[in-house]
């Protein structure tokens, strides 16, 4: 969730400026019935009457309420008592302090694979037992096991996954232009052209003032042009940014970013922050029709515009490039155990079950990668489609690359990858210069 939260911070500045309250962290706030299956049907869990467990995560407010439904399911199934602690945004610091004080929580939800690796190497978290591993194997694509492992040991269960491969559009403007949601990159560019013909002044809205929106663009294109293996190598800087695969991805991006009729003046795009890029699309006299960003756009649409997700505001999956397989760039939270006890192992086993996933997604705030989850557990079509795309991507799910990079490269305003892609947006013809600058900054940060 770290990413999403960081984003919400940025977003909050913009939103506060508009005297609007942006609540929570993405996801739609639409109310729903509790469609979670009865968790007592989980038969493999032991009877843990009298035991108790402490669980820590970043969530507060509505997200905490959702997560507490999951916890209640575990209590009902086993009789164990669950105590939830919210750590606030900076979970790494809070956990670090608790570990030093000798009182870590039994289980914590980490928003970053990097944190899992850090705690695994320091020996603070314990590997999962066979029951947990079996439950993960049964319910998740293998990539989720890899993401929860360090070395040969598996340490956790990814209990939610977010989808950052979604392109949101203004249904009315699409109808006016007579076009359907595109499925390939070429169709996407052609649709943007048609939108322009129909009189939409800036068909594709870019939030270039926030560098992370541009890194997310790049990651989606790169995952589709270079493939998941290359994506992993670029993530860890095994291959340099001057690699030809990066050239291809940037050239693909330039097909869109380089056309002023499609994305408008780049100077204006660089002045537009993320919230602005969304509200530019979902406005009564919108001059833009399409905006790319993750599932949390739905939250901004609900909170900051008069549009309704699923009606006049819809999304399509990030288009395939040259017949690429369905792929999703995203994030998520992984549950790890600091104490190796029967109750925490049982808790992790439960978290890997479809029942826990159903409770997790029941409010529309979260989506899950659990492939045995009955998608009817989602409260609305939008979150259902977001979740199904993640399951469909299967092995081709990848964690947000810039979130995995050292923050000097992938997470600093006005520096590193953010700045380099902003410069590239300003001049999309200079692919080579962008690559050299990216490589120079990456080399500095990855030393």
């Amino acid at each position: 969730m770290k990413t999403t939260r960081r984003r919400v911070t940025h977003l909050a500045i913009g939103a506060a400026a508009m005297a609007l309250v942006v609540s929570g962290c993405g996801g739609s706030d639409s109310s729903s019935d509790d469609t979670a299956d009865d968790p007592t049907s989980e038969s493999s869990l032991p009877d843990l009457e009298g035991e108790s467990i402490e669980v820590a995560a970043v969530w507060t407010g509505a997200e905490q309420k959702t997560f507490e439904k999951v916890l209640a399911g575990f209590s009902d199934a086993t009789g164990a008592e669950v105590k939830y602690t919210s750590t606030g945004d900076d979970i790494a610091t809070v956990l670090g302090t608790k570990i030093k004080g000798g009182q870590p929580p039994d289980v914590a939800m980490l928003p970053q694979p990097g944190l899992l690796a850090q705690f695994a190497e320091s020996g603070d978290i314990q590997p999962v037992n066979e029951d947990v591993a079996a439950a993960v194997d049964e319910n998740y694509a293998a990539i989720w096991k890899d993401l929860a492992s360090n070395g040969s040991d598996q340490y956790g269960v990814w209990i939610d996954a977010s989808n950052k491969s979604t392109v949101w559009y203004n249904q009315m403007l699409f109808d006016d232009a007579g076009i359907e949601a595109p499925t390939t990159w070429d169709e996407f560019v052609a649709s943007a052209q048609t939108l322009s013909d129909s009189g939409v002044q800036i068909p594709v809205s870019l939030g270039g003032a926030d560098g992370w929106t541009l890194t997310d663009w790049f990651e989606n294109v790169y995952l589709r042009t270079a493939g998941a293996d290359m994506y992993d190598q670029l993530t860890t800087h095994e291959i340099p940014w001057t690699d030809p695969s990066v050239t291809t991805a940037l050239e693909t991006l330039a097909e869109l970013w380089g056309e002023e009729t499609l994305v408008g003046d780049s100077g204006t795009a660089l002045q537009t922050d993320f919230t602005g890029s969304v509200t530019n699309v979902f406005d009564a006299d919108a001059q833009s029709a399409v905006v790319y960003e993750g599932g949390f756009v739905a939250g901004v649409i609900n909170d900051a515009t008069d549009f309704t997700v699923g009606e006049d505001a819809n999304f399509f999956e990030f288009p395939a490039v040259d017949d690429s397989e369905p792929s999703v760039v995203g994030g998520g939270d992984v549950a790890v155990q600091f104490t190796d006890s029967e109750v925490s192992q049982a808790f992790l086993t439960y978290l890997a079950s479809p029942e826990a996933a159903a409770a997790m997604v029941s409010t529309g705030s979260f989506t899950s990668a659990n492939q045995n989850l009955d998608s009817s557990a989602y409260p609305d079509e939008t979150s259902k489609a977001l979740g199904e795309a993640i399951v469909e991507a299967g092995e081709n799910f990848r964690f947000d690359m810039s979130d995995l990079a050292p923050s000097a490269f992938g997470g600093t305003v006005g520096a590193g990858e953010w700045k380099d892609l902003q410069d590239f947006l300003a001049d999309p013809s200079d692919v080579e210069g962008a690559q050299e600058s990216l490589e120079a900054n990456a080399a500095k940060a990855f030393k």
Partner: protein, 462 residues
């Protein structure tokens, strides 16, 4: 400002008293009385908390920063002056330094000048309290809130940004915007568009013929309500005219055929159409409600048909205040808005302390108001002005929040200042607290001259 603060006088006076006795009569003072010794102890007891706080919260951090600035990012290996070398070779830090110099020169000068103007004004107007309250009010707003306000004021979109809304309102009063901004040819082979938007026929058109001119990318909102469904133009019927249709070649909802006047497609009325021969406009007309036009009165022959750029000019959208070029002046303006009241209040207090009889005497001697201001008020006010100026210089050196909030992420490197850079390299992504400490130490060095100057002044006043 010019009155001596009694607290300082007491603590400073203790050392001065024996010295003064020594120098006047030359005799060594007798043993200090028990009363004096008790006083020393008492002073120490009262000073201790403040000293302790200074030690823990000022001196220790300074020393720690000094030491830390000599180590690398994790703080494990000694770099010597390595961090200082990278400080002065890193492009971002140099930009920050340059901006800091601009800030130091421009902001205190303008704020002091403006404060002086306001202070003089307050002596002349009757609604002083209202005026002072208004000017001073921004001081009550936090920097963060002011930053958010100015971020909005400078927003590029005229619908949101106040500054551009005003510019656009003024501009459009004198130069009305075009009717069909963004419009471009639907058939660029037959009617290519020049860079400035002018659309000209690729081949010349003979008189007596009819020309369809399809256009695209005109927002449906820009099509006037008076526009009717486009029709194919009738033959001009004479050898001295060219007729045609200018229409929006896009069927809402899709399905229209390119370059064909489809059923629901609308004409674009009011479009300027020119017939050009040898670079000279020889005839012109405007389109009617259904988009048809007839340029008549032409000598039989071949002409170029042209839709001038004025039809399509993009609307004026104001200035990119928060772009790389204007960002620092824009933020300084916000700073002035906040601090002008501060300067005004201090300077007004200084002016109130100027003896009236000096001014009266000057006026009696026949000085004009300007001369009184220039020759009497200013010299008497100079000490206050200097204090205000120096205080502002110190304040400007640590400016952070305004830059952080007003500059959009893409422009932040261009607006960078040292305090922001210090935070960025230490915590905001760089995570190199060694380099951050080096910047902190450098900032301290910059502030020291101003501090010394201020302290000397205080001492002199005592």
């Amino acid at each position: 400002m010019s009155t001596t603060p009694p607290m300082v006088a007491q603590s400073g006076g203790r050392d001065d008293v024996p010295a003064a006795t020594e120098s006047t009569d030359g005799s060594i003072p007798t043993n200090p009385t028990s009363h004096d010794r008790k006083g020393t102890w008492l002073a120490a007891v009262f000073l201790a908390p403040a000293l302790l706080l200074l030690l823990v919260m000022v001196l220790y951090p300074i020393v720690f920063s000094l030491v830390r600035s000599l180590y690398d990012a994790p703080g494990s290996s000694f770099l010597g002056f390595g961090n200082y070398v990278s400080l002065f070779t890193d492009g971002n830090t140099l930009t920050a330094l340059k901006n800091n110099v601009i800030w130091m020169v421009v902001a205190p000068t303008l704020v002091t000048a403006l404060g002086l103007m306001f202070a003089v004004l307050t002596e002349r107007i009757s609604w002083v309290t209202v005026f002072k309250t208004l000017v001073f009010m921004p001081m009550a707003v936090s920097f963060l809130a002011s930053g958010v306000i100015f971020r909005l004021v400078y927003d590029e979109e005229p619908d949101r940004g106040l500054a551009n809304a005003m510019l656009v309102a003024v501009h459009d009063t004198f130069a009305p915007s075009s009717s069909y901004p963004g419009g471009r040819p639907g058939d660029p082979d037959a009617f290519p568009a020049a860079d400035d938007g002018t659309i000209t026929s690729a081949e010349s058109v003979s008189t007596g013929s009819t020309v369809p001119i399809p256009l695209l990318a005109v927002s449906p909102d820009d099509v006037p309500a008076a526009a009717t469904v486009a029709e194919e133009a009738a033959e001009p019927g004479s050898d001295s005219a060219i007729s045609g249709t200018v229409w929006l070649d896009f069927t809402l909802g899709g399905g229209g055929e390119p370059d064909v006047v489809d059923e629901t497609e609308k004409g674009l009325p009011g479009m300027e159409v020119e017939a050009v021969q040898d670079g000279k406009v020889v005839g012109s007309t405007t389109t009617s409600a259904n988009g048809t036009f007839t340029v008549s009165g032409l000598a039989p022959g071949d002409y170029e048909l042209r839709l001038p750029a004025a039809n399509f000019a993009a609307p004026y959208n104001g200035v990119t205040w928060l772009g790389p070029n204007l960002i620092t002046p824009a933020i300084i303006a916000a700073y002035i808005w906040i601090y002008a009241g501060f300067a005004m209040v201090l300077i007004a207090a200084g002016m109130a302390a100027i003896p009236r009889d000096a001014l009266e005497a000057a006026r009696m001697d026949g000085a004009t108001e300007w001369q009184v201001f220039r020759r009497v008020t200013m010299p008497l006010l100079a000490p206050v002005l200097v204090v205000v100026f120096v205080t502002l210089v110190i304040n400007v050196l640590k400016v952070f929040d305004l830059v952080f909030i007003i500059a959009p992420g893409s422009v932040q490197p261009d607006a960078n200042v040292l305090a922001l850079q210090m935070w960025k390299v230490s915590f905001g992504g760089g995570q190199d607290q060694g380099l951050g400490s080096a910047i902190g130490v450098f900032l301290l060095l910059l502030v020291i001259p101003a501090m010394v100057f201020n302290i000397r002044r205080f001492k002199k006043e005592q």
